[in-house]
Amino acid sequence: MSVNSPTDVATDTTYKRFSHDPAYVQANAAFVARLPLAPVTRILDLAGGTGAVGQLMLAAAPGSSLHAIDLDPVQIDLAAENYAGLGYSIRRDAPLQPLPPGHGRTVSLTVGSATELAFPGGSFDCVMIANAIHLIGDKDGLIGSIARVLEPGGIFAFSSGFYAGCWPPVTQQVYYEWLKEATAWIAQHNAERVAAGLPPVKRVRGKSQLAPVAYQNRWLTPDEWRELLDAKGFDVRDMNERPVMFDHDSLASVGAYSGLAEAQLSGYPVELASQALASTAALALATAGVTSVQHNWIEVCAVRRAD
């Protein structure tokens, strides 16, 4: 088997590795630094993942509690570990009731969907979703739910690396070549399996939950985001497009993440897809003759209008 064979190297397919990527960390910190968080007391972190951005939010709003929701129990486990390591009190499987003000340094964690918010109306004064809003198909429903659980005057903030305009032309070229190289990597892997008398790893079509929402949903332009938020009762106070430079290590880290691998190479076993993307990131950059790519992120801060 080749040195890049999945049988040789175990890949961490959680978001943990990319959450520590220097470019990603810097982008998140810059996003949070633009938010008016000082008076916030109750934060809802949707699709909170490992807590990488939630921790930054709490640092900027030290008197606030935070309730994080994520569909993936593995991410919730990692978040519990990370928040506990920073000295926060953890409530697992927390009831969908916000803590009253005065519970700073308390983090509640729930496995659940960002689109099914069973909290009472006006439960929070800040709702945040970092780099995940593009994965949610029903954006009308999502924004409406967020408006309901936010008190008037509350902040809704999000960042996303997937919107219309996120990829300059060279980035589009690199990402497309990356998918092609990853596909070829899997083909080579299968050829080696067959040569060794093993059956090839088959792709199962139509099983991915992430591919359709990530890549077949229409990405919104900044102006379309502004219009949608306005229609749902929000005033956009700040909208920023941030160029983030991803090098080989950044791409290998995010390529290994199961969420991206499942969406990009849908139908293959996630472990194999993750390794294919992580192993071919450098080749994709080299093919385009660059050492990094510019990936733009949109950052939005909106305030819920009074009813």
Binding site: G165, Q172, Q173, A184, S208, Q216, W219, G267, T287
Partner: protein, 102 residues
């Protein structure tokens, strides 16, 4: 399209014929309700249930067939900074006709 390694010029009709052949081969064992055979107006997503990786595999198959790499398919797949929501066979044919003539 010819199998001769150095012959890389194709008529539009040849491109269309061979693209349909590639698509027919790719989708042969897919469980599709689509009927009538692949035509120029056939939609990849709506009719053939293409996923994003299927498009990549189609690109790889086309590039192997025409013996050309880096045909800048991203320019076909992304318009106004975002992925297109649908592609018809004839749009790919038009794109290849331009790219292979370059």
């Amino acid at each position: 399209m010819s199998n001769e390694a150095t012959t890389l010029k194709f008529t539009r009709d040849e491109i269309e014929r061979d693209l349909i052949a590639i698509l027919t081969d790719m989708t042969a064992d897919w469980d599709l309700s689509f009927e009538g055979g692949i035509q120029p107006d056939t939609r990849l997503m709506a009719d053939l249930a293409f996923e994003s990786i299927d498009v990549v595999q189609l690109v790889v198959a086309i590039e192997a067939h025409v013996q050309r790499r880096h045909l800048q398919f991203e320019k076909l797949m992304m318009v106004d900074g975002r992925y297109v929501q649908e592609l018809r066979v004839k749009e790919i044919v038009d794109f290849l006709d331009q790219q292979l003539a370059a």
